[in-house]
């Protein structure tokens, strides 16, 4: 008998996680049929180098704890993705590289060795991705895994938060190689849609990327930047933002300023976390499970 991993996750969620079933349309898996599913872990917004005891007095301990939490998962993911803001920004190019080196050293302790990195504006905007490229490689790329096509989009190396015409042309060419029913997961840092432009939670030419993706039936976007879960649809495309590993931010436009939520000593690490994303090889559904950095 094959145990449905989603069922397992839903049961596990009772112990502290939260499951969100992505709304990707697709054929339901036939009951009882075997399938070779897989899952990956998304971590985001570690902001290594940030210093602000009022919002995170364990700034140098939270990322290592998250790595321990991933390593402690009963079943290890196929791979791990970091969707940007690996480090906190600095004007000093030497310090920037030092932070990236430290970050890389910490995440090298992951049991899973297939780790994909993406930049956030804190990593890449002040030098157009130069230091990021030296440490982590390309800022946009594709890869395929067990029938799912992953596309990492860079909307941060341009400080004006543009994907840019050149990368959009590249995206168009990459998509042209795929059938319209291909399973596509887009990884990016900023929201591709106008979530809250008043808080700079947008991508200036993100609508162009969405327009290119719209003809494809099975598209899901995972992003970071806003330091909280947010689930939104643009047409049939689902967009899911991730929690941070440094400090949470308030709900979009819920207060005048987008200031970090202060540390809650009664509930340390509240609002921080990472997620598992389960993909079914023979279906077109994704199951998302939110997990805390530290279990209460």
């Amino acid at each position: 008998m094959t145990i449905d991993r989603r069922t397992f996750l839903q049961l596990a969620a009772l112990g502290g996680g939260a499951v969100f079933a992505s709304s990707l349309a697709g054929a339901a898996r036939a009951a009882g049929a075997d399938y070779d599913d897989f899952y990956f872990v998304q971590l985001s917004d570690a902001h290594w180098g940030f210093n602000g005891p009022a919002v995170n007095p364990d700034a140098r301990g939270t990322l290592p704890k998250a790595i321990e939490a991933v390593n402690a998962l009963a079943e290890q993911p196929d791979f791990v993705v970091f969707t940007g803001d690996l480090t906190h920004t600095t004007d000093n190019p030497v310090e920037r590289r030092k932070r990236m080196g430290e970050f890389k050293e910490i995440v090298s302790k992951l049991k899973v060795k297939d780790v994909r990195f993406m930049p956030g504006e804190h990593d890449a905007a002040l030098d157009h991705g130069k230091a990021f490229g030296e440490h982590f490689g390309d800022t946009h790329y594709t890869f395929a895994h067990k029938g799912v096509n992953f596309i990492a989009l860079d909307n941060v190396s341009d400080p004006a938060a543009r994907i840019g015409d050149e990368q959009l042309a590249w995206l168009s060419a990459e998509l042209a190689r795929l059938p319209k029913d291909a399973k596509i997961v887009v990884l990016t840092h900023r929201p591709l849609f106008d979530l809250a432009p008043q808080w700079d939670w947008a991508t200036r030419d993100g609508a162009k990327a969405i327009e290119l993706l719209m003809p494809y039936e099975n598209v899901t976007v995972f992003y970071g930047h806003i330091h909280q879960e947010n689930h939104r649809m643009t047409g049939h495309i689902a967009h899911h933002s991730a929690k941070s590993l440094m400090f949470p931010l308030p709900a979009p436009m819920s207060q005048p300023k987008r200031e970090p939520i202060p540390w809650d000593a009664q509930n340390p690490y509240r609002g921080l976390g990472f997620r598992e994303v389960e993909a079914e090889e023979k279906g077109a559904k994704l199951a998302i499970t939110e997990l805390p950095v530290v279990r209460a």
């Binding site: 004007d91 004006a160 938060a161 106008d194 432009p197 808080w199 300023k257």
Partner: protein, 120 residues
Amino acid sequence: MVIPRRRFVIGAGAAAVAAIAGAGAFAAPKPRTVKIVARRFQYTPNTVKLEKGEPVVFELTTQDVFMGMNIPDFGIRSDIVPGKTMKLAFTPDKAGTFTFVCDVFCGDGHEGMSGTLVVT
């Protein structure tokens, strides 16, 4: 869901639009000039009071790095380029309190760089 396309009115182009509008058969009121100086990580002034229907031209300068000024509720924005005076013209067509924000990442503090537009 349709993603709204933002309208971009940038610098001299915006000024040109305003100038053409002013050359019509009916004399339009001369736009009021509002100077805003940007520096990391604030605008001066950071609160601007306008009247609904009153044409204005923002004259934008920066004292240090490349910045932006975006007023999403009106769908307009401009770069703010070091060494230049950027002009952003518009006429507020609704009253209320609105945010303007720097939309060009400018360093540690960028997230707090915003101002308030009060239209009465």
